[in-house]
C-alpha cells in the first residue's frame, strides 16, 4: 500500500542502514564463496559449518562479546578440523560432516539454555538461529565489512588454483599448486562467509544465502566468472529486497514487522525457481563445469 512512499524514512532509519551494510557484505561474500562451494560439491559442509557456528554465536551472548566473533571462531575451528581430517571418500565425508553438525547444534542448544537462564538474554535463540538483522548494533558494521573484505581477498587469491584443483587434484599438483593450502584457504573463506551469513539470516538459514544465489546463478551462467556476477546480483537483490519488504510489512499488519530472514530466504527460493525455469527453456540444464566449458 505504502510501497516506496517511505523511501526517505527507509534510508534514514539506522537499523535499516546497518542491515543494508552487513547484509550487503554478506551477500557479496556468499556469492563469491558460494559459487566455488557449489562447484566443489561442499554445500553440505557449508551447511554444517553454519550450524556449528550457532554454538559460537550462543557462546558470544553468554560471554557478552560481539556475536560475529562467536560465529567466526566456531566456524573457523570447524572448517579447520574438517579440512584437516581430509576425507576423500564422499560417504565418509558426509557422515563426519553430519556428526559434527549434530554435535555443534547440540552444543548450541546447551549454550542457548544458559543464555536464557543464566544471562537472561532475551531472544538469543531466535537471533542466533534465524537472524534478527534490525537488532545488529551499528558498531559491528566496520568489523563485518572488514571480514567481508578479507574473505573476498582470500577467494580472489585462490580462485584460479582452486578451480584447477577442483577439477583434478593430480593435475593441480603437476602444475605446482599446493592443493592442501588452497583447500584450507577456501575453507577459511567459507567460514567467514558462513559467519557473515549467520549474522544476516541466522545460523540455520545461513546456507540459503550461501548456496541459493550461487545455485541459481550456476543454472543461468555459462562461465564461472559470470556465475559469480549473477550470484552477487541475486544475493544482493534478495537481501536488500528482503530488507525493503520487511520494512514495508510493518504497514501490512499494523504495528508488527515480519521477520526479515523470511523475506530474504523466500526471494532466494523464487530466484532459484525462476533460474531453473529459464535454464530449462534455454536448454541449459547442467551447472557449468569448473573448467569453464559450456554445459550442454
Amino acid at each position: 500500500m505504502s510501497v516506496l512512499l517511505s523511501v526517505p524514512g527507509f534510508l534514514a532509519n539506522e537499523p535499516v542502514r546497518v542491515a543494508l551494510a552487513v547484509g550487503g557484505g554478506a551477500a557479496l561474500v556468499c556469492a563469491v564463496v558460494g559459487c566455488a562451494t557449489v562447484m566443489r560439491r561442499q554445500s553440505f559442509a557449508g551447511h554444517a559449518l553454519a550450524d556449528v557456528s550457532s554454538a559460537g554465536g550462543s557462546a558470544a551472548y553468554l560471554l557478552g562479546v560481539n556475536p560475529l566473533f562467536g560465529f567466526l571462531g566456531m566456524a573457523a575451528a570447524a572448517a579447520g578440523v574438517m579440512e584437516w581430517a581430509d576425507i576423500r571418500e564422499a560417504r565418509e565425508r558426509d557422515l563426519l560432516t553430519g556428526v559434527v553438525l549434530g554435535a555443534g547444534l547440540g552444543l548450541a542448544a546447551l549454550l542457548l539454555y544458559f543464555d536464557a537462564t543464566v544471562r537472561s538474554v532475551s531472544g538469543a535463540a531466535v537471533t542466533v538461529l534465524f537472524g534478527s538483522m534490525f537488532t545488529i548494533p551499528a558498531s559491528i558494521v566496520p568489523l563485518a565489512l572488514a571480514v567481508a573484505a578479507v574473505a573476498l581477498a582470500a577467494s580472489a587469491i585462490v580462485h584460479r588454483p582452486l578451480l584447477v584443483s577442483s577439477l583434478s587434484a593430480d593435475l593441480a599438483r603437476a602444475q605446482g599448486i599446493r592443493v592442501r593450502a588452497v583447500a584450507l584457504t577456501h575453507a577459511l573463506a567459507l567460514a567467514l562467509a558462513v559467519s557473515l551469513s549467520a549474522m544476516t539470516v541466522g545460523a540455520i538459514l545461513s546456507t540459503a544465502l550461501l548456496i541459493g544465489p550461487a545455485a541459481a546463478a550456476l543454472r543461468l551462467a555459462k562461465r564461472p566468472a559470470s556465475a559469480v556476477v549473477f550470484a552477487a546480483l541475486i544475493g544482493l537483490g534478495a537481501t536488500w529486497g528482503g530488507i525493503v519488504l520487511a520494512y514495508e510489512s510493518f504497514y501490512w499488519t499494523p504495528g508488527h514487522g515480519w521477520p526479515v530472514s523470511f523475506f530474504i530466504v523466500a526471494l532466494i527460493f523464487c530466484a532459484y525457481l525462476i533460474a531453473g525455469w529459464r535454464a530449462g527453456r534455454a536448454g541449459v540444464r547442467r551447472a557449468p563445469h569448473p573448467s569453464g566449458c559450456e554445459g550442454t
Binding site: S122, A125, T135, G255, G257
Partner: protein, 313 residues
C-alpha cells in the same frame, strides 16, 4: 565469567534444595494436621501469602531469582511435585506461568484452591502486559482472595487471616502516597521503557510511555522488532524527548544495551526495574523503592540500575 560461576553454584544449590524437597515430600510432607502448603508461583505472590497466612501456612515461591528471566523458566520435576502437593496456588496467568496449569491438570485435587490473578482482576485473556503486580489495584485483591482461600482451608483462623489482609492493604498506603505525590509533582512525565514491566505503575503515576508498545512486546518475547520501532525508540533518546529510560533489570540483549548506551550519551537517567521481587524486600518495600527510584531519576537525574537492598526482614 564470575557471574556465570556464581549462577552455576546457585543453580546447583537450587537443584540440591529441590532434591531435598522431593525427599522431604516423599517422607510424608502431607502429614495430617500440619499447616497447608501454599505456593506463590512468583515470589511477590508468595510474599503476600506469607503475610496473610503467618504461621498457619507453609509458603513456597518458585520464581524467586531476580537474575533470570521468568518468561523462560522451565519447571523441574521437583517443582512439579511441590505444586501438585499444594493446597493453594497463586499464579499470575496470562501465559506468564502457563506451565503451572499443566502441572495442576496432571495432579487434580478437589480441595486445592487456585487463584489466577488475571481472572481475579477480570482482565481479558489477551491482555498484552502480564506484569500485573505493578498495578496498585492488584495486591489488595490478591490479599483478600488469599484470606478467603486460607479461611476455606483452615476455618479456625478466619479472623486472623481477615485481619492480616486488612493490615496488608493498609500497609500499601505509603506506596500509594508516593505515587500520588509523584503524579502531583511530575504528572505526564514522558518516559521510555524497554519492556512493559512497570507500565502499570508508570500509568498510575501519570507518566506518558512514549515507547511503541509493539517494540516493548517484541523485546519481552524475544521476537524480531520492526526497524521503524527501533528507530522511534532511538529518536526518543537522541532527541531527549523522555526524562528517564526504564529497562528490565533481569533481561538484557544487544538492543537493550544499545538503548542504555544511547541514554548514557544523552545524559538521560536510567532506572532498572525488576520482574521478580529482589531478596531483602517485601512487596510493599519493593514497590516503594521502585517509585522512589523513578522519582530520584526524574527529580535529580539519578540513575539506579539496581535497587539498593535495604534490610526489610
Amino acid at each position: 565469567m564470575k557471574r556465570l560461576l556464581c549462577s552455576l553454584r546457585r543453580g546447583l544449590r537450587v537443584v540440591l534444595l529441590g532434591g531435598l524437597a522431593v525427599l522431604a515430600a516423599s517422607c510424608g510432607a502431607a502429614a495430617p494436621g500440619g499447616p497447608p502448603l501454599a505456593i506463590g508461583v512468583e515470589s511477590q505472590y508468595a510474599d503476600v501469602l506469607s503475610q496473610i497466612g503467618g504461621p498457619y501456612v507453609t509458603v513456597r515461591a518458585i520464581l524467586t531469582n531476580p537474575n533470570t528471566n521468568p518468561h523462560s523458566f522451565e519447571a523441574s520435576p521437583a517443582v512439579a511435585r511441590e505444586v501438585s502437593q499444594s493446597s493453594l496456588v497463586v499464579m499470575n496467568g496470562l501465559g506468564y506461568d502457563a506451565w503451572v496449569e499443566r502441572i495442576l491438570a496432571a495432579a487434580p485435587n478437589p480441595r486445592r484452591r487456585v487463584i489466577d490473578v488475571r481472572r481475579l482482576l477480570r482482565l481479558p485473556s489477551d491482555t498484552l502486559n502480564p506484569h500485573l503486580w505493578y498495578d496498585p489495584r492488584t495486591m489488595p485483591a490478591v490479599a483478600e482472595a488469599a484470606a478467603q482461600a486460607l479461611t476455606a482451608l483452615d476455618p479456625a483462623h478466619a479472623q486472623y487471616f481477615q485481619a492480616n489482609a486488612r493490615r496488608f492493604t493498609a500497609s500499601l498506603a505509603p506506596w500509594a502516597a508516593a505515587i500520588a505525590a509523584f503524579r502531583k509533582d511530575y504528572g505526564s512525565t514522558p518516559v521510555a521503557v524497554t519492556e512493559p514491566v512497570a507500565n502499570a505503575l508508570l500509568e498510575a503515576a501519570g507518566c506518558r510511555i512514549l515507547t511503541p508498545l509493539a517494540l516493548q512486546v517484541a523485546l519481552m518475547n524475544g521476537t524480531d522488532p520492526a526497524p521503524q520501532d527501533v528507530a522511534a525508540e532511538r529518536s526518543l533518546l537522541r532527541g531527549r524527548k523522555v526524562k528517564v529510560l526504564l529497562y528490565n533489570q533481569q533481561v538484557t540483549g544487544p538492543l537493550t544495551i544499545s538503548f542504555l548506551q544511547l541514554a548514557r550519551e544523552q545524559r538521560i537517567p536510567v532506572v532498572g526495574v525488576y520482574e521478580t521481587m529482589p531478596s531483602g524486600y517485601h512487596y510493599q518495600s519493593w514497590m516503594l523503592a521502585e517509585i522512589n527510584a523513578l522519582r530520584a531519576a526524574v527529580a535529580h537525574g539519578a540513575s539506579s540500575r539496581t535497587l539498593g537492598v535495604e534490610p526489610a526482614r
